[in-house]
Amino acid sequence: MSNLLNSILSNQSIQPSIQAKTPEFTFDADGKVKPLNYKGKLLPSRLFATPKEYAHDLKQDILSIGKAAKGKANDYELGRINDVAMKLGSLGLASYLFIKNPLKLDKAMQFIGFGTFFGGMALWPKLAIQAPLRARTGVDIHQKYIDSQGRKKMLHQDPQYDLTDLYSREDLDTMGEKLKVSDDIHDRDNFIKQRAKKTAIQGNTLWMMSSFVTPILSAMGCKALEEPVGNLIEKGSLISSAINLEKGMGPVQKIKNFFAEKSLQRFLRKNSGKAMTDELISQITQKLGDSANSADISAAIKESLKQMKQKPALSADMVSSAIAGIKDISSEKIAAAMTNPEVASAIESGSVDKVADLLSKAAFDGKRTGRQSQVKSTIKNLINKSIKEQSVSDLTDEVAGKIKGLQSSLLSFSSDRALLDKYLGARVVEKDGTFIARQWNRVCTKVLKILKLNDAELSALANGEISVLDKKFTQLAADSAKYEQAIAEITKLINKYEAQLGNASEGDRAFISKVQAKAHEMCAKAVKGIDSDDLSKVADAIKTSENTIVRNAGERTMGAQSSFYRLLQTFELYKQLDKNAGGDLTSKLTEALKKQGIEPTQTMIDKLLKSCKHILLEAKTTDYTEKLAANNFNLSQNEYKAVMSVLFDTKNKSTQVKRVLEKQFGPEETAKILKGFESYKSQFREKVVNWENPMKSSFADYLLDEATHSPNATERSNLVGSTVKDTIQGCARKMKNTKFWTKMFGISLAVITAATLIIGLTFGRKSKMEKQAEQESKING
């Protein structure tokens, strides 16, 4: 080849294009071209590339794609494009799943999954193979070099393409020492290079054979990051929803509203002057309803639009034809009455009432009788009916103007409402990933941790075996240190929750008043915007929605609070059941039964004690409506009353819990918590357990009550809250699954890592043949 090259270069007149490049060549003494000096060099090893390197590589990759599209790229560039495409495709998929998943945490996890997967892919060989091998043998199996064309490659990628000449003296010495290559052998450098190459082949093979661990690493990484990321998102949405609520509509919403307005305007222009048929009204309602985002408001809009049809002016002909054929007035009388100037002026003024009055009087010759007033109302109805039938109106500019005004009010209202919904969603909506759901999860996890369950107990609890919970609560009540810790931890978490809703001292009350003020402000603003009388129904619907918003927020807060108090009450109950700690539930029950006029037996007491546990651990709203009949307790009215009076006794100031709380939080804080607790109990007693509440004959009746939206039903179910069993069982399931999953894949990962590290230890050792060869090469040998 060099001959060919020399002949080309010497014959420059034939190849003028190569002439320009000649200065790059160097010539030997015979005037022959010498090979170019190499510019390749090793690159320093780093765990991550610098941002500058990333930017440079990215630029090169983009240029490569351009080159490849023209068919000019080389193998190296195509290889890099493959990596870029893989990342682009994966990002595309992550973005798709980001959009597909409704929850913020799930959304975030898509990109975290992408990151941990590629991160795991890059880090695994570095940490499990490259780093230990480098520390032990001095050979960096992922040593990179940059070649004369500026391409970055791995030095040991192709063992048949020997680039070990790029190693510096220092590199060789370090490797030689670590690989224990004798100092006194011929051609020592070559020995070292061969050993380095061998080690690299072994390391690269291990890399390929163990990389299947990447999905497990990625999954473990995601699991580890899920909690902190969830916390960040939770805090983020709490803060951002509060700021956005104060700030009002954001730019994105403004743009959306702008387009919604334009779309309606286009639609109104297109249909301008057309008759307001029912179909057109429906279309307009749909467009406005999209802005309102509420079924009630949409219905009000439709009704209002129908009423906006223009009424025809009252005329003598119209009146005559409307009342023609009426039995009580002969046509002559009608004709005569019509000539009456009084009637004419009434028709002109458009007053249907006056016209009907005058005509009916004319029918009975001016006499006011009962019959006359009947005829009057018949005439009035007939005229009104006729007016309604003849009311055909067009989509005039005036009507269009009213619709536009309504839309702008509705858009602003729905934007404000969306912000308020987000604010409430972040705080009181119990959905996966929201503050309240996560806080409850924390509470339950804490309880489970304090209860110290072994695997079998956790499993039983996850399966809903209530006996485990009963046993554990009993044990907890007997251990005062743990008992205090449990109550303190839970109360702390709940306090945090209340502080998050409003200020720490007022808690949820401050929160509700804030929601109320905001809801009132936005509804008032919207109603003010709708000044036309024709649209009063829409204004009313908006006013009603104010109450709905506040009520929903209140109910949700109440539900969360009730669940907490119920847990606290359960703790209290188990302390009262513990006779060693001065628990006096049995004596209280006996006393209560006596008050009801029953002489208690031991069986009865046992049954009632059992029902007490059931009420706090498992009872749902239906249990109260059916007075615990469903669970075969078969309590008589007096027994039921006795149990409830003991459990929801507001006179007994929760002494057990009080003592613990005072120790942990001081008297002031305790008083606050207990005030809420007592108020909960008294409300519960009044609204839920009251025997006089209608006794339902069946569950279906109860559901029917729900179906008619009886406010009592919702309030009752909110007061009952979620059962201790359900909450703890759900949490136990989650905990058990996580434990099982982590154990399974944690062990797999540990085994694979250990195997990789151990196999790595065998690399770089001298084989018998190598030892022999080394021996034979000894200078003094």
Binding site: K70, G71, P159, T214, P215, I759
Partner: protein, 384 residues
């Protein structure tokens, strides 16, 4: 070693039998063995040849090459390293399926059920990813093969003479399954010369390709010189777009696997096998339980959901042209994203076909003269 390009005969084996591994010819002296295209095998038995090649590659990747690699053999090479890449690809896919499915054996029934919903989808996602990533490449490669006569996947049997290790000198001839155009820097042009499969002449292959590109082979002086650059450009473009599009096809396939219809699929092979024995049960469940039909239906429905098109409605309204839009429902945000992902895959494939099937440099050069020919065809060439 010297051998003459002009004399070398890249012909196919006489008996047309497909056989791999140890070959009769391996016993020949080093100079008598040479690389050869598997063009006839691929033409006559495309499926069995591909399967055999892949099976051999797979066993080598899992057994032969790792053993060599762990020993640090001096005969280890880059090809073997790349082949071992199949191991993490397959085992990693299995690990991914395991991560989402294996743990549910320890879950409680309701959790296991909801985990199964996700697990089904994830397992399908992994499978769909692999299938579409490979299958989608054919959307560009096949048109290129048929229109331009260039098979970018043309396999060849490469003979590797290894260095002796530990006295195993008798086993020095190794076979590797390569592709003639796997390197665009160094395509195996030599294998196409004097290949009887393409014709009697030395340049038959290049002449055939030149014809497909619209040249008159009789008018081109050096069809090989002229066509090599054109073929190379086509191969580069094909590779670029197959690579780019394949990841978007794979991503779209995962998107399809993530749709709701798969949640209801009870993919329980053991249960199905048990049912197979019980004819009464089969008859009872047959209409709904026929796996392939059920699978195909779900696939169609999922794809429809993925891009927001109701194919059922479109088919129903086929005769009613005005109502055909009924099937194109108002797409949700997710479906718009699905359309974008699928559109990217489809767009890149269409673009790939456009670029790869167009010869942009055709009009720039002379049609009859090889522009960069440095080789005098009349001289015998010697390469070392």
């Amino acid at each position: 070693m010297f051998y003459k390009i002009g004399v070398q005969n890249n012909t196919i084996r006489g008996n047309n039998q497909v056989s791999f591994g140890k070959k009769e010819s391996d016993k020949k002296s080093v100079c008598e063995n040479h690389d050869r295209l598997l063009v006839e095998e691929m033409d006559k038995h495309p499926i069995s040849t591909s399967l055999k090649i892949n099976a051999e590659k797979l066993t080598n990747a899992f057994v032969k090459y790792p053993i060599k690699g762990f020993k640090g053999s001096k005969n280890a090479n880059f090809y073997q390293f790349l082949q071992m890449g199949t191991v993490p690809y397959l085992l990693g896919s299995a690990a991914m399926m395991a991560v989402f499915n294996l743990a549910r054996i320890g879950f409680n029934t309701p959790n296991a059920k909801s985990a199964a919903k996700l697990g089904n989808k994830m397992a399908l996602g992994v499978a769909f990813y692999g299938i579409m990533k490979n299958l989608s490449k054919k959307f560009i490669e096949l048109p290129v093969k048929h229109v331009r006569g260039i098979d970018v996947n043309m396999p060849y049997d490469k003979i590797v003479y290894e260095l002796p290790e530990k006295g195993n000198e008798n086993n020095l001839v190794q076979h590797e399954n390569h592709k003639a155009f796997e390197s665009v820097d160094f395509p195996r042009w030599d294998l196409f010369y004097n290949n009887e499969y393409f014709g009697d002449e030395r340049n038959s292959y290049y002449k055939k390709v030149s014809e497909k590109f619209g040249y008159d082979p009789g008018e081109i002086d050096h069809s090989d010189q002229k066509m090599k650059s054109v073929i190379k450009e086509t191969v580069v473009k094909t590779k670029l777009f197959t690579t780019l599009s394949s990841y978007f096809w794979a991503a779209s396939a995962v998107g399809v696997a993530m749709q709701e219809p798969w949640e209801k699929m009870l993919f329980n092979p053991i249960q199905r096998l048990r049912n197979l024995k019980d004819h009464a049960k089969i008859k009872k469940v047959m209409p709904d339980d026929f796996f392939i039909i059920d699978f195909a239906k779900k696939l169609g429905k999922s794809f429809g959901e993925f891009i927001g098109v109701d194919f059922g409605k479109i088919v129903k309204n086929l005769k009613n042209h005005e109502k055909i839009t009924k099937g194109l429902e108002k797409a949700t945000k997710t479906q718009v994203a699905g359309r974008v992902l699928f559109g990217a895959a489809l767009g890149l494939t269409v673009l790939g076909n456009f670029f790869a099937l167009n010869d942009f440099s055709k009009d720039k050069g002379s049609k009859t003269q090889a522009s960069t020919s440095l080789i005098d065809d009349s001289r015998e060439k010697v390469v070392c």
